[in-house]
């Protein structure tokens, strides 16, 4: 009888995948995609943000399939996303058009349009609410009924919640250096390789797709000491932005743009004081803006992103948080988790090579 290859690998994979299914279903119950989408709003937002595709139902599906693992859910969405044809780029979105649900400024007490606390965990006390252990559908209906009777529109803001940007005020006062509008075509990191120095459009794209915790950690490092300045959040807003595409037949016709939907985003503009020299050589303080944006309600990430954006505009600084390659190469979930997890693959050829080298060195020394 001829020798055949051991087919252990194939069976092992099949069994391993079966076990996954078993683990997922072993309790006899599985959360529906709808339940995940409706009750895990912020998780869905994070997965959409890092998965780089705005679709709450697909994000919920990915969360279900991945048993709640962030890295797996994001992986599923990214792999799906890369098979989709990209037919259009949207027209430029102006965030002043945002339908605001929440908006705060840490720079000014009173801002035109006012501060709107909106939906936030900021002022909750983080005490476990044991009542939620037993939350029945009847109780939920009762609470909803109470909201209705109170006639509050606390949850959904009225239609016309559009507000001016707080930075416009500082700009009008001359505290922010005028910057020429840059209407060059944005670079798309999913279609082109990163090159350095990196165009800002690509930099912002990589940060906004970046791992929430990685972007937060690096932003924190900069704020704590591995960076230059303490930023002030000039404005943080959460709300819905309409997305439009140009008329495919007549791209220049601004009257005929098509609204294809709206997305919820968190946008942050941070102010960082910088020293400028006037024409007569005196020093004065101006402010630079760091920009952060993230899909869904994703506030810490958006603030951290605004810090890193400003850091990366100053490559002359010696901090790692100002080093484009250091920051941009290492915040992507697919890349970081992929390369770390590949260490689980067998390396016996390479290890044997290293061992062979180590033995030769020892023999030589002996």
């Amino acid at each position: 009888m001829a020798y055949v290859a051991v087919k252990g690998g194939k069976i092992a994979i099949e069994q391993s995948i079966l076990r996954l299914k078993q683990e997922r279903l072993r309790s006899g119950k599985a959360a529906s995609v709808k339940t995940i989408e409706n009750s895990m709003r912020l998780l869905v937002d994070q997965v959409m943000s890092e998965g780089s595709i705005y679709c709450p139902s697909l994000a919920a599906l990915a969360i279900k399939q991945a048993e709640g693992s962030m890295e797996e859910a994001i992986f599923l969405l990214r792999a799906y996303r890369s098979t989709l044809p990209r037919r259009y780029y949207s027209t430029t979105v102006e965030s002043a058009d945002m339908q605001i649900e929440r908006r705060i400024s840490a720079a000014f007490k009173d801002i035109p349009g006012g501060q709107i606390l909106g939906t936030s965990y900021d002022y909750t006390h983080r005490l476990l609410d044991f009542d939620l252990l037993e939350e029945s559908d009847e109780q939920i209906q009762k609470i909803l009924q109470q909201f209705k009777e109170a006639d509050t529109d606390t949850i959904i803001a009225p239609e016309s919640m559009q507000m001016p940007k707080v930075t416009d005020y500082l700009r009008s006062q001359g505290f922010i250096d005028p910057i020429e509008p840059d209407d060059s075509e944005p670079k798309d990191a999913t279609k082109e390789t990163l090159t350095f120095p990196c165009p800002r459009s690509m930099r912002l794209q990589i940060l906004t797709r970046g791992m929430t915790q990685a972007v937060t950690a690096l932003g924190y490092a900069s704020l704590r000491g591995y960076g230059v300045a303490h930023p002030t959040v000039c404005e943080l807003r959460v709300g819905r932005l309409p997305i439009t595409i140009a008329d495919p037949a007549n791209g220049d016709d601004e009257e005929n743009e098509y609204v294809i939907g709206e997305i919820k985003v968190t946008e942050v503009e941070s102010l960082i004081p910088v020293t400028r020299r006037t024409e007569d050589g005196r020093k004065q303080i101006s402010f630079e803006i760091g920009y952060g944006i993230a899909a869904g309600q994703n506030e810490t990430k958006a603030i951290a992103m605004s810090i890193l954006d400003q850091c990366l505009m100053h490559p002359e600084s010696s901090f790692a948080t100002s080093d484009e390659e250091f920051v941009l190469y290492h915040v992507d979930s697919i890349e970081a988790t992929g390369f770390i997890s590949h260490l689980k693959l067998p390396h016996y050829v390479t290890f044997q090579a290293k061992l062979n080298s180590a033995r030769k060195v020892r023999e030589e020394k002996a």
Partner: protein, 280 residues
């Protein structure tokens, strides 16, 4: 084969883009061509660069061989084969001579490759200078200027420290007398197989988004010094405990009773030898 997915997973536009980068890589041996690496259904670092090369040039009539660390049947090789066959339906073979397209991680098969074959190697770190210079911007410049002192110094420092070059796998090579190139972490044992290879060798790094190539009959020289010549791993006095092969790359196997024996790392080579012996 899944009818809802395009042949070889990608849309034709993506394949064409990857092939364009590949053609450029073939035209400039050893030069790392950037490409828009796709997010794949398998993880970055698990062979996505090789997989994208394979999927972009595979044809329905191809005979495909996939090996991981020398084995056709290791879990990752199986997993990659499953993905490719489910989207292409191509014939799978373990026989190196029969294969028209071979995707491999960290090995070049023992059976010499021949004209018309394509070997695709999976690459984790395509930049041979990365260990001496972390910045991509600077390494690009060093390549442009053919400024390779860093690579030589790395080897020289090893000689000073250990009395010899102590690289493991991925010993840097110079391709066509121009670009210093990472041969992917193949053992030094396999480096000479790249030199004037009859087969086309393509190297793909998915996470680092680079494609590079060694066209057939191209010189590939492992970096060394006149008085400290390049030396491959040696298995002097050892042979495969299954087929008796010598002068091949061997796996060191630890048995439960504490004895050590050796086996061909290239499992299909070993199997063919045993079968041939049986026939005679």
């Amino acid at each position: 084969m899944n009818e809802h997915i395009n042949f070889a997973f990608f849309d034709e536009g993506s394949k064409r883009e990857i092939r364009r980068a590949t053609l450029k890589a073939v035209a400039i041996p050893g030069y790392q061509v950037p490409f828009a690496s796709r997010e794949m259904p398998i993880a970055r670092g698990w062979g996505t660069g090789g997989l994208q090369l394979t999927l972009s040039c595979i044809l329905p009539e191809d005979h495909l061989k996939v090996i991981d660390q020398g084995s056709d049947e290791s879990v990752n090789a199986i997993s990659i084969k499953n993905l490719i066959t489910s989207t292409t339906g191509v014939q799978i073979t373990q026989d190196t001579e029969q294969a028209t397209l071979i995707q491999s991680r960290h090995r070049i098969p023992e059976v010499p490759l021949s004209a018309g074959q394509i070997l695709v190697l999976q690459v984790p770190t395509p930049e041979p200078l990365r260990s001496v210079e972390p910045s991509e911007r600077l390494t690009k410049k060093l390549h442009a200027e053919a400024e390779y002192s860093g690579a030589w110094l790395m080897l020289f420092e090893q000689i000073m420290k250990y009395g010899r070059m102590a690289t493991g796998a991925d010993h840097p090579v110079r391709t066509a007398g121009r670009y210093v190139m990472a041969p992917s972490p193949i053992p030094k044992f396999d480096n000479p197989k790249m030199d004037h290879s009859e087969a086309l060798i393509l190297l793909g790094a998915g996470r680092e988004k680079k494609i590079y190539a060694v066209p057939p009959y191209t010189s590939v020289v492992s970096l060394d010094f006149e008085d400290a010549p390049f030396e491959a791993e040696s298995f002097e006095g050892k042979k495969c405990s299954l087929c008796g092969a010598e002068h091949v790359y061997l796996d060191e196997i630890l048995d439960a009773d504490g004895t050590v024996r050796y086996q061909c790392n290239d499992t299909s080579y070993c199997m063919n030898r045993r079968n041939r012996r049986e026939e005679n």
